[in-house]
């Protein structure tokens, strides 16, 4: 009987102390998240219908106002032949297939390739970046990098290569 009471108290203590540990963790989590430049909003933007999904971080590169959210509209822009489609994905992905005529400028090799890109395309060029769809932020990151290099007419085709390919539009 005494042993059972002691065990109950011990279990209660263990659970109470576990709550204290979790409470301390929650306290620090909210404080540091609020102060950190990498902090995120308490509710992210995870609805694919609204555009590229992201955690809504303070340093987020996603700007929904730049987005082209309709693959048919992207095709119309492509057919008008006045825009440069720029692929933000990795070299392997690009080599596996890309929008026909798209320029290779992956985010992780941006510094290496931007000078060549600038020599070829003026800052007035109309640029459409894309990557692998609405869970991919690379196209947005590339757009921001291009803005920082003086390009001002940049949009982001958010459905990217997978939907373009699925529609049967030109690829190579």
């Amino acid at each position: 009987m005494a042993g059972s009471v002691k065990n109950n108290i011990s279990t209660k203590n263990t659970i109470m102390e576990a709550c204290i540990l979790v409470g301390i963790a929650v306290f620090f989590a909210f404080i540091i998240n609020a102060l950190s430049p990498n902090g995120i909003a308490l509710i992210g933007k995870w609805d694919k219908e609204s555009g590229v999904v992201h955690a809504d971080a303070k340093n987020s590169v996603v700007k929904h106002e730049l987005e082209i959210g309709d693959v048919k509209l992207a095709k119309k822009i492509y057919d008008a032949d006045k825009s440069i489609f720029v692929d933000a994905r990795s070299e392997d992905d690009y080599n596996d297939g890309h929008i026909k005529g798209a320029v290779f400028l992956p985010v992780h090799r941006f510094d290496q390739l931007i000078d060549g890109f600038k020599n070829k395309y003026s800052s007035e060029a109309t640029i459409i970046t894309y990557c692998s769809g609405r869970t991919c932020e690379d196209s947005h990151q590339l757009a921001q990098l291009l803005f920082s290099h003086g390009y001002f007419n940049v949009s982001v085709f958010i459905d990217g290569y997978p939907d373009w390919k699925e529609e049967g539009y030109p690829i190579e």
Partner: protein, 153 residues
Amino acid sequence: MNKLKTYLLDNSWLELTIRWVLGLIFIYASLQKIIDPAAFAKIIFGYDLFPGGIINLAAVILPYVELISGIALIAGIYTRSAALVINGLLFCFILILTINLIREVSFDCGCFSTEITGSALSPESLLIRDIIAFIFGMQVLLFRNPRKGCLMQ
């Protein structure tokens, strides 16, 4: 067999070793997630199991629960409770991995890194690893003798 079971359950050196190993693993696992919560949130989104409303909260809170529990386990502060929290987390990870294995949903583990590059381990290996860690965690949780190297008994 019973002797071996008792020996393993009552071995304070084994308990100390497990505490340090589990503690260090969880501290290490928390660091990259703390540095880049947005990337970790995206990994949670990739599990395709949670409503949008809780993804960010999980991404913010979970790494600190790992960190604080890991530190508590190593320092020997509220040791049994820290083991309870860590085993609770491991139980959740095992459940999530099992559900996604059954659903055949491909996902990035996000266990130690927030880079979405495909996990080095297969989901089956991750599941086995978590089950082993869970069993070791039970030793710390069920240990009833005086613990070694604890700031608080």
